[in-house]
């Protein structure tokens, strides 16, 4: 079980005033749940996900995973205790091959070709074409992103966090990816926390968390929250919508 208790992350703005990127966020995610975090850009979704992995140090609050307080543990320690994180914009590595990343992720140097194939097929890549390629600038953004997701699959952690897995991925590969998420959920071996704006991913979720302005504004079963999100969708600019643009 993942528990977030009163998590805040504040940074000083230009005038030195504290700016709340996350303000007193608390939530609980049960084992093997599929939870989608959604909400407007700049609302604090990625900061929350990074704080769970330890990539961001919160100003206050706690992160507990399976009852253990992770708040003061390093990224490495959290990874070793079952938290994994797929970057929204994964870094590239000159000289590290897809095979190297999969081996590091799985913690095994004796991964069979069959196993490597399975991880790559699940993100729509053919192992024969990719396994010995370097994860460098020769790969497209979508390819790097899919390899990133494959590393999370190879990691087989109890908590899998994905930050906008759909970003940069073409429609055909995206369809394959949604099937993979569905399979992961059906296998019931991991808790999935997915930041996404895609209806097809949101539709797979057990629960939806909506974050805006650094706070959780909605959290509940998909059936309850999804209609609220759709109803609150406002197009355009609030200044214009309120007549601010009229002479």
């Amino acid at each position: 079980m993942l528990e977030i208790k009163n998590l805040s992350y504040q940074v000083p703005d230009e005038s030195g005033k504290e700016l709340g990127i996350l303000s007193d966020v608390s939530l609980t995610v049960g084992d093997n749940k599929f939870v989608v975090i959604t909400g407007p850009n700049g609302g604090g979704k990625t900061t929350l996900a990074k704080a769970i992995m330890g990539l961001v140090t919160p100003t206050s609050g706690q992160v507990l995973w399976n009852g253990t307080d992770m708040t003061d543990l390093s990224v490495t320690e959290r990874a070793r205790r079952g938290i994994s994180y797929g970057f929204q914009q994964p870094p590239r590595f000159k000289g590290l091959r897809v095979r190297d990343l999969l081996e590091m992720a799985s913690g095994r140097e004796d991964l069979t070709h069959e196993e490597e194939c399975q991880y790559l097929i699940r993100v729509g890549l053919c192992a024969n074409d990719y396994i010995d390629r370097e994860v460098d600038a020769s790969l497209s953004g979508g390819e790097v992103k899919r390899i990133e997701i494959a590393t999370i699959l190879a990691r087989q952690a109890g908590l899998m966090i994905f930050d906008e897995p759909e970003a940069g991925i073409d429609l055909w590969s995206f369809a394959r990816l949604t099937e993979t998420f569905q399979q992961l959920h059906e296998e019931k071996r991991a808790t999935l926390l997915v930041i996404s704006h895609q209806e097809r991913i949101i539709d797979l979720a057990d629960e939806i968390i909506m974050i805006s302005g650094g706070s959780i504004v909605q959290h509940g079963p998909k059936e309850d929250v999804f209609p609220l999100i759709l109803a609150n969708t406002v197009s355009g600019c609030s200044y214009m919508n309120n007549g601010g643009g009229e002479q």
């Binding site: 992995m53 994994s84 970057f87 870094p91 000159k94 000289g95 590290l96 091959r97 190297d100």
Partner: protein
């Protein structure tokens, strides 16, 4: 052969035992072992220190190992090795120098390797430099490699110097004939107070010649590195120079690639980059369970692979 010799040979030439094919082992300035084959003949020079290696035309899938090891402190040598490779060959040449210096005097190996590569021959040339020993004496290597390629000839040169050499000044020159190809892959890691300088001239002399330089280096601690790769196009040709360096600690790196076109049909590209390991790269590997130090090592090993 004692343990130190065996270790040095393993480091520089991947030699676990007596190599297959022709070889010439030089130890502390003297011949320590030589084998010729039907197609490869090695002769000791009579006018100066060094050897001539003659590879008969049409020699294919054979190799020559010519490692040099120095275990005596204070030994300084200058060696000339000349390779005469006939037409239509396909051979591997494994050179390299290992110094074990446990004394207080400087040990130094300076070598000039000159290749004359016949028409349509392919040569893969590996050169590895390695130093060790707990003495205070310096370990210095100044290698020069000069290669002349006839029409259609190809040389793929791979040089590696990972740790242990205090000072190196390297010069490489490849003159590529029509339809030929010269490529250099250079890997270098310096640490402590080491200095390394690498200067190259790749001259694409013949029509449709091509050249490629891939240089990857890591400078740690207070080490210094300087690169001067120059690619010159004298005819319709294609050349690419790529220099990538990772800089760490208080190291300094200077990279000055040059491309020179003396013909309007010469197509030459150079890329050079120096930078730290990106923080995101370390963090990504830490999310896979590696410690910060393990992540750094994996990134450096991959980069220099």
């Amino acid at each position: 052969m004692n343990k130190i010799d065996a270790h040095l040979l393993r480091e520089i030439a991947d030699m676990e035992s007596t190599p297959q094919g022709a070889y010439n082992i030089r130890k502390n300035g003297k011949l320590d072992g030589r084998v010729n084959t039907a197609h490869i003949v090695i002769d000791t020079k009579t006018d100066k220190s060094g050897i001539d290696i003659h590879i008969a035309p049409h020699t294919r899938h054979e190799s020559v190992h010519i490692p040099v090891i120095i275990t005596e402190t204070g030994l300084t040598e200058m060696v000339y090795n000349d390779f005469y490779i006939g037409e239509d060959c396909d051979v591997d040449i494994i050179a390299g120098c290992g110094i074990h210096n446990s004394g207080c005097d400087t040990s130094q190996h300076d070598g000039v390797h000159t290749f004359h590569i016949g028409k349509n021959s392919r040569v893969r040339y590996f050169e590895k430099h390695y130093g060790e020993g707990d003495g205070t004496g310096g370990r210095i290597m100044n290698p020069q490699t000069i290669a002349y390629l006839e029409a259609g000839a190809v040389i793929h040169m791979e040089t590696t110097q990972i740790r242990g050499i205090d000072s190196t000044k390297r010069y490489t020159k490849i003159v590529v004939g029509a339809g030929g190809e010269g490529s250099i892959t250079e890997k270098l890691l310096t640490h402590g107070e080491q200095t390394a300088e690498s200067e190259m001239d790749i001259i694409l002399a013949g029509e449709d010649a091509s050249g490629r330089v891939i240089s990857r280096s890591v400078a740690r601690d207070k080490s210094r590195q300087v690169f001067y790769p120059r690619m010159t196009g004298e005819a319709k040709c294609f050349g690419h120079v790529q220099c990538d360096s990772i800089i760490m600690d208080d190291a300094r790196i200077k990279s000055i690639p040059a491309i020179i076109a003396n013909c309007p049909d010469a197509q030459l590209i150079h890329e050079a980059a120096i930078g730290r390991i990106a923080g995101e790269q370390i963090l990504k590997l830490m999310t896979l369970g590696l410690t910060e130090q393990e992540a750094e090592e994996r990134i450096l090993n991959g980069f220099l692979q």
